[in-house]
């Protein structure tokens, strides 16, 4: 018992230095990209384009934060993309039924959180591997999204709702959605770094059995982690629906993989125990910057896909290599 108590503190000290290094290296990569793309096209560094990048990265950052929680427990959440679509649809249906915007959004967010609880329960009590459980809900929720809409996107949403995505704020002319992302990142960054839930999340990913035996309610923590992931996906769903003024049953398809890529570039490990919110935010920004910069420099869309794939492999490879030293 004494040994078990001593070990985490040691881990923690090492982790902090590594975390700082991770943030610095990902931020460095971002800076290099910015310099290269500015040389390719000076418009890249304009304040308008920087806001564009932040806006384009917003949904991915939000879902990647949730995915980071899940990855730290050495799980995976594949249902994110479907939750994006279906929570947007739930909110849109409520709005079309005449509910106030705020209440409709709460309905959409609660729906998302509910899927998260379901994922957690399937994994904890159903004893399903996370990959299988969330793959199952991914398909089921996508089907529900299609069924609820009968395949037809829901448009004509109230203006006050669409403003949460696009309206630029008095503060630095930044769109509302970027502020929402920022607030969510701060809240969940705090949860992961400073609260009991966060510490248990790391502990479970490092050594599940030891954590369970030391009396941590691992079941409850796992359910909370999957609920956080789905809740954040529902937020992304709100924002994406507001952005295009349309709740489409096909929205968010494949976004779960962008979330994994962002987390991993930002230092999370698919083997668990590793990952921090600031790193993930930077990781998502690297991907968004890469896409935006390549678009602005006029690169072929086919080459772009190749480059992004190579960057994901390269980022993780460099990280592994450094760690082995």
């Amino acid at each position: 018992m004494n040994q078990a108590a001593a070990k985490p503190t040691m881990n923690k000290r090492r982790k902090i230095s590594r975390q700082t290094r991770q943030i610095v290296s990902t931020a460095g990569a971002l800076l290099v990209l910015a310099i290269v793309f500015t040389i390719a096209n000076p418009n890249f560094i304009s304040s308008m384009n920087i806001l564009n990048i932040l806006k384009q990265a917003t949904p991915i950052i939000i879902i990647a934060i949730g995915q980071t929680f899940v990855l730290i427990t050495s799980g995976i959440d594949l249902s994110i993309g479907s939750v994006i679509a279906c929570s947007g649809i739930v909110a849109a249906i409520c709005m079309r039924a005449g509910w106030p915007v705020w209440l409709s959004m709460i309905a959409g967010l609660l729906f998302g959180a509910g899927v998260g609880v379901l994922n957690g329960v399937l994994i904890v009590y159903g004893k399903l591997p996370a990959f299988i459980a969330t793959m199952g809900t991914m398909t089921t929720i996508r089907g529900l999204a299609l069924f609820l809409t009968q395949g037809i996107p829901i448009g004509s949403l109230p203006k006050s709702f669409t403003q949460i995505g696009t309206q630029r704020n008095w503060l630095f002319n930044v769109p509302n959605q970027v502020w929402i992302m920022f607030i969510l990142a701060v809240i969940f960054g705090f949860v992961l770094a400073k609260t009991k839930v966060g510490r248990y999340t790391y502990a479970m990913g490092s050594n599940y059995e030891a954590t369970r035996l030391s009396g941590v309610n691992v079941n409850q923590t796992l359910i909370i982690v999957y609920t956080i992931s789905a809740f954040l996906a529902a937020w992304a769903g709100m924002i994406m629906t507001a952005n295009v003024i349309s709740a489409a049953p096909t929205a968010g398809d494949g976004y779960e993989l962008d979330a994994v890529a962002s987390s991993v570039i930002g230092g999370a490990s698919t083997l668990g125990g590793e990952g921090i919110v600031p790193g993930t935010v930077l990781g998502a920004l690297v991907i968004a910057t890469l896409r935006n910069g390549l678009n602005l420099s006029g690169a072929s869309p086919f080459i772009q896909k190749m480059i992004i794939g190579i960057v994901i492999i390269g980022a993780v490879f460099i990280d592994r290599f450094r760690r082995n030293d």
């Binding site: 890249f44 564009n52 448009g155 003024i245 049953p249």
Partner: protein, 315 residues
């Protein structure tokens, strides 16, 4: 418990069989690529109305609709076609989701002497009587003419396409480019991006194009998702009307953007006509009439150019 379950399954099977046998008279099967896209729902609506007309005229006809629940692999669709041969459908209408994979099933229908009508997309075989489809090349050329005229024959434009791997959307891009080069040589296409029909991605790409080329004059978007995303990007950048948008396909969202003057024109296919004419052709073939002298006859159901002016008339 197990016995009860078995009994239930047997009862269900039996009921399915009896309904199949009870289908005296004529059955026309319609198999589309999926059952979620508005496009296919309109095909189905057109077919249903044609069948309703036949029934009203005193014929005993019914329509059986089937489609993969989502865009899964074409093997599922092929087996649906084969099932309809087994069920002895009197005519089969198919929108093949894969030109190669569906060809054997389509040939099997034809070889079984069942009238074979293709909808929307060709398959890699000549063994069918007639196809009702949009000539995507012709529609793309119309789009090029519309955008060219809107821009007065000069300026820079960008293309937001859907899937890079799909014959349909690549034809919409390729023939648009050819027509632009021929008819409006002073219009420069600065680039293309593929959004996979994802509205959020289309919006991001359109923003990036406006940033890359500050004097961009127009956009051409190749399907519903691309059109909605591009329209919203132009609107949010405050460039509605300044940057001209010509799109493809129709939905409530596209309609709204046309109404607000963000999208100047959109190419609207006529899936309803495809389904409607398809059933009428099926009925003729069932009754031994001919559609055309040749087999594998192609009918272009055309596109309607929807603008602010004629918006009310678009179905």
């Amino acid at each position: 418990m197990k016995k009860a379950l078995l009994f239930l399954v047997l009862a269900m099977l039996l009921s399915i069989c009896t309904t199949a046998i009870a289908a005296d008279s004529y059955t026309i099967a319609l198999i589309t690529m999926d059952s979620m896209d508005q496009h296919w729902l309109k095909v189905k609506a057109g077919a249903e109305e044609a069948v309703a007309e036949l029934v009203a005229a005193g014929n005993d006809v019914k329509l059986v609709f089937d489609a993969p629940s989502t865009k899964v692999d074409s093997v599922v669709q092929a087996s649906m076609v084969e099932n309809q041969i087994t069920n002895k459908a009197d005519a089969i209408m198919v929108a093949p989701m894969d030109a190669e994979a569906l060809a054997p099933a389509i040939e099997a229908v034809y070889d079984a002497g069942i009238p074979m009508i293709l909808i929307d997309t060709l398959a890699n075989t000549k063994k069918f009587q007639v196809i009702y489809q949009t000539d995507n090349g012709a529609a793309a050329r119309t789009a090029a003419q519309e955008l060219g005229k809107l821009l007065g024959g000069k300026g820079k434009i960008a293309i937001i396409n859907a899937q890079a791997g799909s014959q349909t959307t690549m034809t919409r891009e390729g023939d648009f480019r050819d027509e632009m080069a021929k008819a409006f040589p002073d219009i420069e296409i600065v680039g293309v991006q593929y959004c996979d029909g994802d509205k959020q991605k289309a919006l991001n790409y359109a923003e990036d194009f406006m940033m890359q080329t500050p004097d961009l004059a127009g956009f051409y978007a190749c399907n519903e998702g691309s059109t909605v995303g591009t329209g919203n990007a132009v609107d949010q950048a405050g460039k509605a009307g300044t940057i001209k948008v010509v799109g493809f396909d129709f939905s409530d969202e596209v309609k709204d953007l046309v109404e607000r003057g963000v999208i100047q024109a959109t190419m609207v296919q006529n899936p309803w006509v495809m389904g409607n004419e398809g059933v009428k052709a099926a009925w003729k073939l069932i009754n031994g009439e001919k559609i055309a002298d040749e087999e594998a006859f192609v009918v272009d159901t055309g596109v309607t150019v929807a603008t602010k002016e004629n918006l009310k008339d678009i179905k």
